[in-house]
């Protein structure tokens, strides 16, 4: 993503955007991890925090920033509300950090984690 100013241009790589997005996602209630977007053997793997940005895909289409997030959600939460919370949070965090509008935040729930002891 490039922004031109009177002094020169500011270039922000998709990796940097992904890092901000994944930090925001992991603070969202109901999300217990990110998943690789290419599930191995049909199973979405829970990613470690430092590899979390592999669950984020940033793309530019006609100058619009589109963020795709691949997440694992806690079993027993209302998934639609959790996903909606993720969209809001990530959009807010990115727009605050970058100062440019984010066109789309798409949340892909790749799996659920069941952590009930019983």
């Amino acid at each position: 993503m490039t922004e031109k100013t009177s002094l020169g241009k500011i270039d922000i790589s998709p990796d940097a955007i992904a890092a901000i997005a994944s930090a925001a996602v992991l603070e969202c209630y109901g999300v217990v991890g990110m998943a690789s977007k290419h599930p191995l053997d049909g199973l979405a793997e829970l990613l470690q925090r430092d590899r979390a940005r592999r669950g984020v895909e940033v793309s530019m289409v006609d100058g619009r920033i589109i963020v795709d997030l691949y997440v694992i959600v806690e079993y027993g939460t209302r998934i639609s509300e959790v996903a909606y919370g993720v969209m809001n949070r990530v959009k807010f965090s990115l727009e605050q950090a970058l100062g440019v509008p984010i066109a789309e935040v798409n949340v892909h729930v790749q799996g659920l984690r069941v952590s009930d002891g019983s």
Binding site: L26, E27, C28, Y29, G30, V31, V32, G33, R49, E74, G76, T77, R78, E81, V82, Y84, G85, M87, N88, K91, P101, E104, S115, D116, G117, S118
Partner: protein, 579 residues
């Protein structure tokens, strides 16, 4: 999906939560039956139900105060409402259970909260109830030790739901409350004593949230979700003390929210099938596949009668038409019916939606979100087909937007959110709608108006979208309101009662008077280089005040056209544009 067989059941769709009038006559009203001062060592399911309902009632009384605990000086929070709706769903689920045990009561309440969870705080609340339900599973009675265990399990479950728990939130309050419960239960078996300690600890934890979360300290507030949990626990304690908690005077507003939950259309028609293989069973299945609810299909000879509830009458009628001839079609909007019954319907709804498109050539309809009568009529005069009431403090839901999109005549629809907080809901409505929908992401009212002026009825949807989006960039927006509390934002110190100004949605001016702030903003917006200054004055301002201000602006900017319009918007004294 529910499949009903009797027509009369359809009338039972609305189930308002009634306090103090239980469906079960032999049950005492929702009050604890223990005398003041007596030691309570165990609660049964009915006691606990009374406590949950009291918690709900207490939250209702404090909802507005909790909503106001947001971290920006302009009121836009909805934590209180979200938690209230979640709690309401939980209580709704248990209110008519006959003689529940503690175990089944919590199970049902947790289920209700899960299904009705709204917002982040609502999801967390549902997790707390889920943990409590697990701890109390199979129990007929709840002792002090059980309660402590339940609260601990509730807090633990809530913490598990997030990979990076943030302290200084509702999570902290839940944990501190459960720790207090465990300590108290090991000292005394009286539930009154235990719950009193719990409420005390929760209150302390709430007060400490600003020291744990810098953003709260900066805004000078405590955490809203934590405060919500405290209010719930306090309600439970007070009902245990024998107090009946009166529901808020503004229960009307909650009823409106509740009613919007019962949304959609009631669709009835007679079908004369083309083919004899179309029978009741297959029709019922196909309606269910479309997501229809409360489906009733009955036949008499070759004619099949269909009665179904659905968010959008279109697909249902299309399905019917593809199978045969339709007759006696009746479509009713249940959302509006409910609202009207409660006296909550926007007065001019029918005027918003023209009976038929003015010209068959124009298939593009426009839906706009606007607060206040004046702004709504401005939008209507510019050719908007449907207006959804809403704005800063009352963001319309996806469902309301979807209903408006479905109601306008055009098959292609342009939506103007006119507020940055509404854009997301509009995008969701687009995804859910069967129509071709484009969102022109207007973040302010003036942006929406300038986008509308760029609309060309002869152009295609894509051309219009492009032209309207380009028009958004051409306009500068200023908004003036009063800070509701002390805060620091974007490096500007604001005190409660200060007049603050936003330039293109960003806080950038503050002062003692609206005129002073208006002048600062106009300078920032380079009004001297512009041609037109349009000022929309809101509810907080009288016409005389607005005229005086407009005259002052005219004196400062003699070369510009200054236009003054009664916008009638709440909260914002002035919204104005420079172009």
């Amino acid at each position: 999906m529910r499949t009903l067989n009797v027509d009369s059941d359809l009338a039972g769709a609305a189930r308002p939560l009634r306090q103090g009038t239980p469906d079960n006559p032999e049950q005492p009203p929702l009050r604890i039956k223990y005398p003041a001062g007596a030691t309570i060592t165990a609660l049964d399911g009915q006691d606990l139900r009374a406590m949950l309902c009291a918690a709900h009632a207490n939250l209702e009384r404090h909802r507005d105060a909790i909503n106001a605990l947001n971290v920006f000086p302009v009121p836009d929070g909805d934590t209180g409402t979200n938690m209230l709706l979640t709690m309401q769903a939980a209580c709704q689920e248990v209110i008519s259970l006959p003689q529940p045990t503690v175990g089944t009561l919590l199970q049902r309440a947790a289920h209700g909260a899960l299904m009705g969870a709204r917002g982040n705080s609502g999801v967390i609340l549902s997790q707390i109830l889920r943990g409590m339900a697990r701890a109390l599973d199979g129990k007929a009675l709840c002792t002090a030790a059980d309660l402590a265990k339940a609260l601990a399990e509730g807090a633990e479950t809530a913490y598990k739901g997030v990979s990076k728990p943030v302290e200084g939130t509702i999570l902290t309050v839940a944990r501190r409350a459960s720790e207090a419960a465990q300590k108290a239960a090991s000292m005394d078996e009286d539930l009154r004593f235990v719950l009193e300690r719990v409420v005390h600890a929760a209150g302390e934890a709430v007060n400490e949230t600003p020291s744990l979360l810098p953003v709260l300290a900066k805004a000078g507030v405590v955490d809203s979700g934590g405060q919500g949990l405290y209010v719930l626990l306090e309600g439970m304690f007070r009902s245990l003390q024998g107090e009946a908690i009166a529901a808020a005077a503004d229960a009307r507003a909650a009823a409106a929210f509740e009613a919007v939950d019962e949304w959609g259309y009631d669709i009835q028609f007679l079908l004369l099938p083309h083919s004899p293989t179309t029978d009741e069973m297959t029709l019922r299945e196909r309606l269910a596949m479309l997501g229809g609810e409360s489906i009733v299909v009955g036949s008499s000879g070759p004619v099949i009668k269909v009665h179904v509830h659905h968010a959008d009458p279109g697909p249902i009628l299309s399905l019917g038409a593809s199978l045969g001839h339709l007759d006696d079609i009746v479509v009713e909007n249940m959302t509006l019916q409910t609202l009207r019954r409660r006296g909550q319907a926007p007065a001019s709804t029918t005027a918003n939606v023209p009976a038929a498109p003015a010209s068959p050539a124009s298939t593009i309809s426009i839906v706009a979100v606007a607060p206040g009568d004046g702004l709504q009529s401005v939008f209507r005069s510019l050719g908007v087909d449907a207006i959804v009431a809403g704005g800063q403090t009352m963001n319309p839901s996806t469902q309301e937007l979807l209903a408006a999109i479905a109601a306008v005549p055009g098959s292609e629809v342009i939506v103007l959110p006119n507020n940055s907080n509404v854009i997301l809901a509009a995008q969701q409505a687009r995804a859910l709608s069967s129509k071709q929908v484009v969102i022109v992401p207007s973040r302010t009212i003036p942006q929406g108006i300038s986008a509308l002026l760029a609309h060309n009825p002869q152009a295609t949807l894509a051309e219009n979208a492009q032209a309207m989006e380009a028009a958004l960039q051409m306009i500068e927006t200023g908004e003036i309101t009063v800070a509701v509390r002390d805060a620091e934002f974007d490096g500007i110190q604001v005190k409660a009662g200060d007049v603050i100004g936003l330039h293109n949605d960003i806080l950038s001016a503050r002062g003692r008077t609206t005129q002073e702030v208006m002048e600062q903003l106009l300078r920032q917006m380079n009004a001297a280089d512009a041609e037109i200054i349009t000022i929309y004055y809101g509810k907080p301002v009288s016409t005389q005040e607005a005229q005086a201000l407009a005259d002052a602006v005219r004196a400062l900017y003699p070369d510009q056209d200054v236009e003054l319009i009664d916008g009638g918007q709440p909260h914002y004294h002035y919204i104005f544009s420079v172009e």
